[in-house]
Amino acid sequence: MQIEFNLNGQAVSADVEPRTTLADCIRNDFGQTGTHLACEHGVCGACTVLVNGEAVRSCLLLAVQVQNDKVVTIEGLSGDELTPLQAAFRKHHALQCGFCTPGFITTAHALLSHEPDADEDRIRDVLSGNLCRCSGYVPIVEAVLEARSSYRDSGSK
């Protein structure tokens, strides 16, 4: 099936099988491999992307379901410079192998864009859908807590 949507600010189109997940489409059809696939059944959160501003799991979504929608992946969040959220992850050692990081960044970005005053409980609640197997979660939560100020200053991005 022919589909058209907006990927990281660019209008794109692809000819996909209906069974193609959005995650596979982004990675294989558009070569944007920042969206990571681990469990492929909605448990780990590594493949989280934004669809029309909302964090969703791209392994639980078919590419044909995002027709005309606006999709943003980890590649779409920053240019050459780290965003304040990414810089906070670096500062707090909130990643080690980095495999889960795109999912954490996209999820935390969606949260802080909607709720820049989220408290630690809310942040932990929201990040409970993402698994990290090396850093532990404490530094990740600290990074997200610190990044809140940049979302308050600039409004939602």
Binding site: M1, E17, P18, R19, T21, D24, C39, E40, H41, G42, G45, T48, E54, A55, V56, R57, C59, L60, L61, L62, V64, Q65, Q67, T107, L111, D125, V126, L127, S128, G129
Partner: protein, 285 residues
């Protein structure tokens, strides 16, 4: 972990969706949020010929609140319920229970209709439908029918939906302002499926005696169930520690949960008794 081959359609009306379902003799499946169906496709536990996406049926996304209760369209998402401030008054039990459903990203896609039609025995929404005597609105080739939750859930992941039918609305009857209630569940990790959960509500008569007690349990049988024997212990009596203990003991005796890798059946039965006891205390506070 790649889904099997299927065709895809996104009809513009419910009638069109029904005729697409009817055209495939049971080999078509409805998809909306896909948060239960996509994992089943990935594991190839489901392999339909055709997926019928309800994405264009905007009307099914509405939460309607009136004197006769709360009507949840099948496409209402968990995040829609979470952000609807009216529900804290119109149906606090629903609002509380839905806080326990899944994780952030899934809550942005998962739907009421999907959860109810999927009928996982440990899922919150089917439990609330069962506890609250919900009425299911179902549209099929033969027209529209209304079915009580008690008749809708027929087994593990099984419902009375026919091959050409779509669940379009879940109607929860009106909620009196003074009603007492509680929802408690236990999961090893917040957002995961509950090992067991209890939803309850009751009203008080002029003598502070319990009337119309409803207790539902999830995760303890092949479908969401009502604990009618424990309800009978409560009805007509004033709340007390002794009554709570009696109702909890009755609940424990009246169920026979299955054992699985997460917990033995006896543990789940004990868990229900504990959750019910805590819930009753909380409701009376």
């Amino acid at each position: 972990m790649k889904p099997p081959i299927f065709e895809y359609a996104s009809p513009l009306t419910v009638a069109e969706a029904v005729s697409l379902l009817a055209s495939r003799n049971g080999n078509a499946k409805v998809i909306s949020g896909g948060q239960s169906l996509m994992p089943m496709l990935a594991f190839r536990l489901a392999a339909p010929e055709l997926l019928v996406d309800l994405k264009h049926l905007k009307d099914l996304g509405a939460i309607r609140i009136g004197e006769d209760g709360v009507r949840l369209g099948a496409r209402v998402r968990w995040c829609d319920i979470e952000s609807d401030a009216r529900l804290a008054v119109s149906h606090p039990l629903l609002a509380e229970a839905i806080k326990h459903v899944a994780h952030y990203q899934i809550r942005n896609r998962g739907t009421v209709g999907g959860s109810v039609a999927h009928a996982d025995p440990s899922a919150e929404m089917p439990g609330i439908a069962m506890t609250c005597d919900a009425q299911m609105k179902i549209v099929g080739s033969a027209g529209t029918r209304i079915e009580a939750a008690a008749d809708f859930f027929t087994g593990p992941l099984q419902t009375s939906l026919e091959q050409d039918e779509i669940l379009t609305e879940v109607h929860l009857p009106a909620w009196p302002a003074a009603r007492r209630w509680a929802f408690l569940e236990f999961a090893r990790r917040k957002g995961d499926f509950a090992m067991a959960g209890v939803a309850l509500y009751y009203d008080l008569d002029s003598g502070s005696r319990i009337t119309d007690a409803h207790i539902g349990a999830i995760g303890v049988a092949d479908r969401p169930i009502r604990l009618t024997e424990a309800e009978a212990v409560l009805n007509g009596n004033q709340m007390s520690d002794k009554l709570i203990a009696a109702a909890s003991a009755k609940a424990r005796q009246s169920i026979d949960p299955p054992s699985d890798i997460h917990a033995p059946g006896a543990y789940r039965a004990a868990l229900v008794a504990t959750l019910l006891g805590r819930g009753l205390k909380k409701s009376a506070a």
